[in-house]
Amino acid sequence: MNTSSHEISLTVNGRAVEATVESRLSLADFLRRELGLVGTHLGCEQGACGACTVLVDGRSVRSCIMLAVQADECELRTVESLAPGLAMHPLQDAFHKHQALQCGFCTPGMLLRCLELIEENPDITDEEAREGISSNSCRCTGYQYIVDAVVEAAEQMRQ
């Protein structure tokens, strides 16, 4: 295939990254294959399910339908940034407490989407959380415990 390469520089989880990438390389493949950040998962590879959600400049993005070159000069957050040390992030802790995950495959993308929701709306309600996570598919939980976790995490994070 006839592809061109580009040099990009970006920040991933607080660290500066410089790389040369093929123009057709998706951001998800860049994160998983080039940087080894395999917490970003691929469910449908067409932007429908949201499993590959990451934060680009603070906004949730489906990394399977964004190209790595488009992330040039951007600041990225993946699930690996949530709890770099032993203690989990309050949102992860709330997911754990409420059993807001079963197989865990949608969880990284769901966590980042929920983090965005809470940052936008620290007083998020059940209804707002339910509408907010309707962007991301979860095949296991039926969503209810995720809603519980988001509302409790928001409360924890307000304190």
Binding site: M1, E22, R24, L25, D29, R32, L37, V38, G39, T40, H41, L42, G43, C44, E45, Q46, A48, C49, A51, T78, V79, E80, L82, A83, M88, Q92, F95, H96, K97, H98, Q99, L101, Q102, C103, G104, F105, C106, T107, P108, L111, D126, R130, E131, I133, S134, S137, C138, R139, C140, T141, G142, Y143, Q144, Y145, I146, V147
Partner: protein, 802 residues
Amino acid sequence: MPTVREHPETLNWVGKSIRRIEDPKFLRGRGNYIDDYSVPNMLEVAIVRSTEPHARIVSIDTSAAEALPGVAAVVTGAAAAEVTDPMPDFGPSPDKHVWRCLAVDKVRYVGEGVAAVAAESRAIAEDAADLVHVEYEPLPPVVDWHDALAEGAPLIHEALGSNVPFHRSFVFGDVEDDYAEADVVVSDVLYWGRSGGQPLETVGAVADYDLGSGMMTIHVNSLTFTSFLFMLAGTLKVPSNKLDMHPHPAGGSFGAKFWEVKTAAIAGMMSKVTGRPVKFMQDRLDNIANGDHHGSDRRYEVSLAALRDGTMLSMKVKVVDNYGAYIQFGVGHHGNSLAQAVGPYRMRSIAYDVTAVLTNKCQQGAYRGFGSEVGNWVLERMVDLMATELDMDPVEIRRKNFIQPDQFPYFIPTGNCYDSGNYEGVLDKTLELADYHGWRRRQAEMRAEGRLVGIGICTCQERSVFSATEFWFWFDQPVGVTSSPESVTLDIDAMGAVTATLYSNASWGNSPETMVAQFAGEELGVDPSEVNVVYAGSNQGLPATGPGGSRFTIMVSGAVEGAANRIKAKAAKIAAHLLEANEDDLEWIDGGFAVRGSPDRRKDLGEIALQAHLFKHSLPDEIDSGLEASFVHDHPYTTLPNADRTDLGVFYPFVGHASHVAVVEVDPDTGKVEFLDYTAVHDCGTCVNPRSVGGQVIGGTVQGLGSTLFEEFVYDGDGVLKTPSFAEYLLPSALDSPALKVGHQETPSPYTPYGIKGGGEAGRMMAPSAICAAIDDAVGIRVRRLPATPERVLDMIEAAED
């Protein structure tokens, strides 16, 4: 009959909603899913998929693909057939509908694999797959069940001589006498559309064939039925003791990874051909079009016979199941239905006629319920129809027919046993939690405003823990396989820390590690959060069957109990020696052995373990070092079918129950079904972790909602798959899903440790019945075809107006 157990009155860990052991790794994005696993020098595979529903393969030109830099091998179906044997197939007469990892000579559905490419990266492999040119000679497609049965229909498999791999009529009890006695017979034609598990993670495998040792090592996210892996070894033409499968957590299954070995076979085959490690990770299109795990696709002609007072006597079922191009599990899905064929009702007899047909669709596999969810829906549809016919309340007709608590163990006409139950208890809890009568009042008010509001109720069974007999009692052979064990090893190290080893790929989104840890906590007096749970490869493994048919929690509870008893037996000898006491005078209490009557004279498990590991020569000669034990737990209650199959024996005996109430409002302009309320009360015996059970119920209900309202693998009349992605195959979102009110009742099983029954398929087994009854009630016309998409609901509203 199995021994009736006495369950302990107080439990320390079973019954507590502890945090799940498996969650921290998933929450940190460190799940080690199969696509996260890579090895040096690894190639990646892409599949060339058939664009034709039914066609002869005239030629395949791989030259352009092979010439692409980075491509290691392009293997056509014909070439694959030289290095592999056909796929394992549990269906009837597998030689007459031969199934291979890649199609040979002809393709039988859109998406079937025609060739495989291995390259230095997935991107290069996909580029190369696009360069493979396949010339097809199209054949007429066969899509619908009636086309498959038509005189002179094109044959999916010529060797079979027809498109019917299986047909049989069963009669359980005196059906004709019961129909003669009946006052009322209602009948209907019902269609259950094809949906599937569609976990967010597809199926993958990393295979590494070592030419030196002849070992075929395959990492997979699908590993069950380890006793049958010799069949996959046969496909790959390696000795059974040279195949070693290693499980990785599955990102969901819902049945869709039940025995999904084609992906492993393709990866293994490509590794053998290239001499390098190979990863094959399905993409979503592979999974939808070629994943071998579509759900049931059935047309029913059914009738129900009752007395005028509502007493149900008998049912006649004639079902045609459109299996697609192959039939890997035979009609085990119908055996599953027959495990709970009469539901919770005292029906005396049932006739069941099943015809399996082959068509140009992807084949069926497993989907949460394995066909029994369809049986539940059909039965509940008919109970509702009978209630309407007799002008009875849908609640009261159910209550009138319930098997009563003092009738257990109860043998249904097919031969299966229901171990225990209290169905009225569940019903009453449901009505209260749902505020059923309050909703009936509010419904009347809303209807007076012209709103299409409906209420539906169902009362359904959930059988759990299949016996292997359900896969062969359909056939005439006198006896098939009868084993379906689960195993565990418990190892107590010198510090008293516990490691539990599991032998199947138990992690599918259920909570196997949490379950094992809670059982180990209960049996050994340790804190579950400190139990380490690991998974063994199959080559050094013990027999295991894995999750499926809501079996894992019960089966592994028996395995942990058995292994813990062996550990305690050895620990008692050591403790007796250390305490200078007689072994018979010791009692196990609070995680150690104490001298009966002298609680201060005790040795904790940790102290005993230290002695067992490090102080061999302080102990009696006959005590070997170490403190570990394994236990293989076989099915607790199986009996064999009789020769003429009028009694199928006991094959699914731990039977839970649930009642759901759905309150819906239908939009008359769009046909959209909105939930105003939803209640689910379940009884799966003793709940090990109530929060987890609740999660299974809610998630299963939402999957049932998907099957009921919009999920369907649609093939058009030409055999073209119209739903190849999540843009067309619609998963329920959070906004489609109701907030459930969940209740539990606990009626313990007398035959399982702690009285547990399986609950993993719950929800999906009930929701379709409750939702359809609610739609009926809202629009005044019966749902007969699933999914009841907005388009179909609009048609119903129009029909009701006419």
